[in-house]
Subunit: 153 residues, 3 copies
């Protein structure tokens, strides 16, 4: 049963996949932090919980640029990190070279950390675009290995 | 091949992961139901299929609060349930204690059912926030076990 | 270690899952293409990188219907393809009939290709709705097999 976890590449994958998925999950509390400090809520019942004046409740259902930025960063994480974990799992099972696999996992995780910093701090482009592209290419490279491995072996 | 499915923890994981992913999938038809009954569509071609008067078609491309609420609930499911399944799969492979693992899976699935009811019925906070937090902590606990298991064993 | 990849059904799953996840990933560059050609950006720093006139930068942070259509298609992919890969992985481990499993994988991938064409070309309904429903039923069928397999065996 634990045989997958005895494999060096699969263990590395599990560690980096868990780390980068936790990073994705933390975007939820970050968005909530901005919603509460900026008093910008998506639902009337949320605004009601953060306002004592009845007339103020409707006004707090509004958008805020800090909240929207965190939401866009979260969405990009969903679009990038979830495919990485899905493809990476299959990639780890193709028996890749351990050091080459580790390079893929580490480059991806680094690219997403840089991407989050570039997004949340609104750093000038192409910082965010490049960090996104590095992660994108890493996942494509792993997908290529999976498809090649199934078709040609 | 079927050896993973002979493992007690992995079988439990497979069952609960399938159930909670079906719950996520059902948010699609629910949103479609609200779009059709509230006549609020995202695309002109959808509005055209639900309107016989040409002048009405443009007006039906609009937002509706019931539709938007279902979409926000669906989005929160994507942000919570997908990480649970990804991390839970790796967690099930670390060989955890079966009853402890089962508790994680059951608590998570219950938390998401309560979250959906709280969201769609607009129950007063902190009902939705607490149900979200329980699911969040469950996934973090499994991610901690995965990382700990890889790093220290 | 490579034993999963020696299984016929799992190999098929890996191939189709990788193909359809790459299709999901490609929606990112497609959205970026529309943002750049339509000059409609989500962030001020993106607009600044595509405009030489300072007064123009603020105006380029705007929505565009082509961009929004690509984003809706991307979102539907996230909501459909990710559950397919998650459920399909568990399904492949239940030891299904190979030709029946292959039918599920191929029908799903085809349904999503048709869905993307129908969405991006704004084909009249019910073309997009039907292609979505076929993929949806395929994933539900696999989820049913997973749950049935765990509960009754």
């Amino acid at each position: 049963m634990a045989s997958l976890m005895e494999d060096e590449v699969f263990r590395s994958f599990a560690k980096y996949a868990a780390i980068v998925t936790v990073k994705l999950l933390l975007m939820g509390p970050l968005t909530a932090y901005y919603r509460i400090t900026r008093k910008a809520f998506a639902n009337p019942e949320d605004a009601a919980a953060h306002s004592s004046k009845p007339e103020e409740k409707k006004q707090l259902v509004r958008t805020n640029e800090d909240v929207e930025r965190a939401r866009r960063c979260h969405q990009n994480d969903l679009e990038s990190i979830v495919p990485f974990v899905l493809v990476g799992l299959l990639y780890a099972l193709t028996g890749p070279d351990p050091s080459w696999a580790l390079l893929h996992f580490r480059v991806f995780v680094c690219s997403r950390l840089v991407h989050t910093v570039a997004y949340m701090m609104a750093l000038p482009q192409p910082s965010r675009g490049l960090s996104w592209a590095v992660g994108f290419m890493t996942t494509l490279s792993m997908a290529h290995t999976v498809i090649h491995s199934v078709v040609f072996h």
